[in-house]
């Protein structure tokens, strides 16, 4: 009898096939909208070096001096500290070996290098390119810094860098930007989640109501076969519960497929860096309540049709 009911529900309007496709397609869209941007930003947070600093005018923290000094032909950013390697680690998020006086790769060919070498009567090291402001700056030990400031005019600032804390101002970086964006996206996620739940439930309700003619016909057949209504309902619920689970898995599969493919296209057309942001398997759990609510709406619609018919 189960097979008979399943076969009957496989055909006609509002059938199981349509229901699975609806749950899968809408579930996938939902997952893509809800989790893909957050997933991408999350991956960015993993990839981007974490500066993890705050800036303050007062100790504690690592003392840092900086200023735009007139070196040779123009003004250049000079950074100094009694612990330059620690300052550099805090600023760029990774350990870099530096010498007594180092300059960024973008100013290695300028007059700065020659001027500084003449000034300190020593060799100036060129740092590897880091794609940051350090590429345009000179990093010097504190005693050399004093020597430079004696010869080059410019205003000097003193600040303290320390690991990120609630007080102080978080230094703007790709990391903090991604983290703040993630907060915004998470807020929108909640809004989207609520609205899409309503949308999916409404669609399933309409789908259930659309299947009224088939259900009426089905019930007539079943009553002619003397199959109790309670048993019929049980089987219908079982069939649609199975269909919901299949739909959820298929929806996840669809989203899991589409998100990286879309990201590859974004890389191709807009040069947005490709970072794999495939959806985590746990996101299935998140769409389960929506899917179950949709199932409930569907069953409610069918029940309404049955009892109205009686």
């Amino acid at each position: 009898m189960f097979e008979y009911i399943l076969r009957s529900f496989y055909r006609g309007s509002g059938n199981v096939k349509m229901y699975i496709l609806t749950i899968a397609a809408l579930g996938a869209i939902l997952l893509m909208i809800l989790y893909a941007p957050a997933g991408y930003l999350n991956e960015v947070l993993e990839v981007v070096p974490k500066p993890d600093i705050s800036i303050s005018d007062h100790p504690p923290g690592t003392e840092m001096y900086y200023g735009y000094l007139n070196i040779g032909s123009g003004d250049f950013l000079v950074i100094s500290s009694r612990n330059t390697s620690e300052v550099l680690r805090l600023l760029i998020g990774k350990d870099v070996r530096i010498s007594k006086i180092s300059i960024g790769c973008k100013i290695s060919n300028s007059t700065v290098r020659g001027y500084l070498e003449d000034l300190i009567k020593g060799r100036v090291e060129v740092l590897e390119c880091m794609d940051s402001f350090i590429d345009y700056a000179a990093i010097v030990e504190y005693d050399t810094f004093q020597q430079i400031t004696g010869h080059c005019p410019g205003e000097i600032q003193k600040i303290y860098l320390r690991n990120y804390a609630a007080d102080g101002i978080a230094a703007p970086s790709a990391y903090t930007l991604a983290r703040d964006l993630l907060k915004i996206v998470s807020f929108h996620q909640n809004l989207l989640y609520a609205s899409s739940t309503i949308l999916l439930s409404a669609i399933c309700l309409i789908l259930g109501l659309r299947s009224s003619n088939d259900i009426k016909q089905m019930l007539t057949w079943l009553s002619e076969m003397h199959i109790p209504i309670r048993k019929t309902l049980f089987y219908i619920c079982l069939i649609y519960l199975g269909a919901t689970i299949i739909g959820v898995f298929a929806g996840y599969g669809l989203a899991h497929l589409m998100v990286p493919l879309i990201l590859i296209f974004l890389k191709l057309f807009f040069k947005i860096p490709y970072i794999y942001a495939g959806l985590d398997i746990s996101s299935i759990i998140v769409i389960l309540p929506i899917a179950l609510l949709s199932l409930l709406s569907y069953i409610l619609a069918i029940l309404w049709m049955i009892f109205r018919g009686r």
């Binding site: 399943l6 076969r7 898995f249 996840y252 599969g253 899991h256 589409m258 493919l261 590859i264």
Partner: protein, 493 residues
């Protein structure tokens, strides 16, 4: 009679295409050939098969070389070419599949032509190689053809399945997903009151699945996890299959739209525009784009017509799943490895749907003329692919082999060389190391392709100047210069 003549011509074309690297260069194509040649020679000498490391674990290729070498009394080097020859026989399988699905002889003829001369060049670049995958290719297409028989002999299916399972894990995976997709289609047919194939397909997938699981479990117990078989990737593959299946079920338009997006991505990835791995392949030219459009438009028409056919849908779902999985699993080294393996099976699907478009086109006025023009055009357009195989980075030349063989006894120090030459050196028992920062007094072996294409490091190609800038090469002592091969003694770094 006319049908047999056309089929013979197609078969001859297939044989000459895949054997062209051997016929022109007189050496096997792609480095894996030297590994399997060595393995085959070991089997002949020792008289027994050893299952110890990765290249032993799917021994079909080694056994085929040994078998033909023994029964024909030819050297194992020559008998390696039985592998590309078997690949060329896949043309007959494609003919059978296409004829069975379309029941139209023009479709059946154009499908093998589309496979042999695909503008993706997969048939020549893959089919000419002596690899585990290539050895399994004929069986893969044969199993699909066998699946279409109404009452297949289960003993025959068991033997074919065993052959494929010990041939290559990826080819087995393709067939397993194909059978799984067919089983899903059958289950849905059951709901429509048609259970004609269900029982047969359950038996087939059970036999194949049992063989696949047992053999790969044995391999796993010997060498551990191997690409792309890992818990995580298999789970990802299952969900990709779910996604592709849903797309194929939503409707004809969704299937075609998905392929419209996937095919350009595949082409770009194949030509080195997508993965973060440097490859020596030239960027795709506008002429090649034109060739691809001429190939792909009929293919999409074919898909649109035969979208509902359970065989085509199963082939589409299985091959598309693997190609999509390879792309989404990452644009890194592993992704590229899986991608190149998947592409060869994806081209079977494209060739099939290309062939299946002709029943519709031929009904139109000038359809037959168009068919002839497109077929000849594809043959001519494949010249780029053939030259890629003949002179590309994967090609070896007889002179390299001969010269290195002659030098073997004179070499007393390890030579530095790239991975491509290291395959050949390993076969010839020449002591070697792969490229590293050169030091004074080291010996470097370079071949012509190192100067043209660069140095192969695993799957990554880098320019020769990275290790040997011009001033380093010019300061080296040239100990041997044989046209293709050169041995340098590093003087000043």
């Amino acid at each position: 009679m006319r049908k047999e003549i056309i089929l013979t011509i197609i078969l001859v074309l297939a044989i000459f295409t895949v054997l062209s690297p051997w016929l022109v260069n007189k050496a096997p194509y792609i480095g894996d050939a030297w590994i399997h040649l060595r393995k085959a020679e070991d089997i002949v000498i020792q008289g027994r098969l050893r299952l110890e490391e990765y290249n032993d674990m799917w021994p079909l290729v080694n056994l085929i070389i040994v078998f033909y070498s023994t029964i024909l009394g030819i050297s194992p080097l020559i008998s390696t070419q039985i592998i590309p020859f078997l690949v060329s026989l896949s043309a007959i399988n494609l003919y059978i599949i296409s004829l069975r699905v379309s029941r139209y002889k023009y479709a059946a003829f154009s499908t093998p032509i589309a496979l042999i001369f695909t503008p993706l060049y997969t048939f020549i670049t893959f089919g000419s190689a002596v690899m585990k995958e290539t050895a399994a290719f004929y069986l893969t297409t044969l199993l699909i053809a066998y699946f279409l028989i109404n009452r297949p002999n289960l003993i025959g299916f068991l033997l074919l399945s065993f052959g494929l399972v010990v041939g290559h894990h990826f080819a087995s995976l393709v067939i397993f997903i194909f059978l799984l997709s067919a089983l899903i289609e059958d289950s849905l047919d059951l709901l429509n009151g048609n259970a004609y194939y269900l029982k047969r397909d359950i038996i087939m997938i059970s036999i194949f699945g049992a063989l696949l699981l047992s053999w790969n479990f044995f391999v796993f117990s010997k060498i551990g996890w191997f690409l792309p078989i890992s818990g995580n990737s298999l789970l990802m593959m299952v969900f990709t299959l779910f996604g592709i299946w849903i797309i194929s079920r939503i409707g004809r338009l969704s299937s075609i739209t998905f392929q419209v997006f996937l095919i350009p991505l595949t082409v770009l990835a194949w030509r080195g525009h997508l993965h973060d791995i440097p490859t020596p392949i030239n960027p795709i030219s506008i002429w090649e784009v034109r060739d691809l459009i001429i190939f792909i438009i009929p293919a999409l028409i074919g898909l649109a017509i035969f979208w509902r056919d359970r065989t085509i849908r199963s082939i589409s779902v299985s091959t598309t799943t693997l190609i999509a999985f390879s792309l989404i699993s990452g644009l890194d080294y592993n992704g590229l490895v899986i991608f190149t393996k998947s592409l060869h099976y994806y081209s079977i699907f494209l060739a099939l749907v290309f062939g299946l478009s002709w029943p519709l086109i031929l009904k139109k006025r000038l359809g037959k003329i168009l068919f002839t023009i497109v077929s000849i055009y594809l043959i001519l357009a494949s010249v780029t692919g053939i030259s890629l195989a003949l002179n590309g980075p994967g090609a070896y030349h007889e002179i390299e082999y001969k010269q290195l063989q002659e030098l073997r006894d004179k070499l007393h120090e390890p030579l530095i060389m790239d991975v491509k030459l290291s395959y050949l050196s390993k076969y010839l028992n020449i002591e070697h190391t792969t490229f590293h920062k050169l030091k004074q007094g080291e010996y470097v072996l370079l071949t012509k392709s190192n100067f043209i294409h660069g140095i192969l490091l695993g799957y990554v190609w880098v320019d020769l100047s990275l290790y040997m800038p011009y001033h380093v090469i010019s300061s080296c002592d040239r100990l041997f210069d044989g046209g293709y091969l050169k041995i340098f003694w590093v003087n000043n770094v």
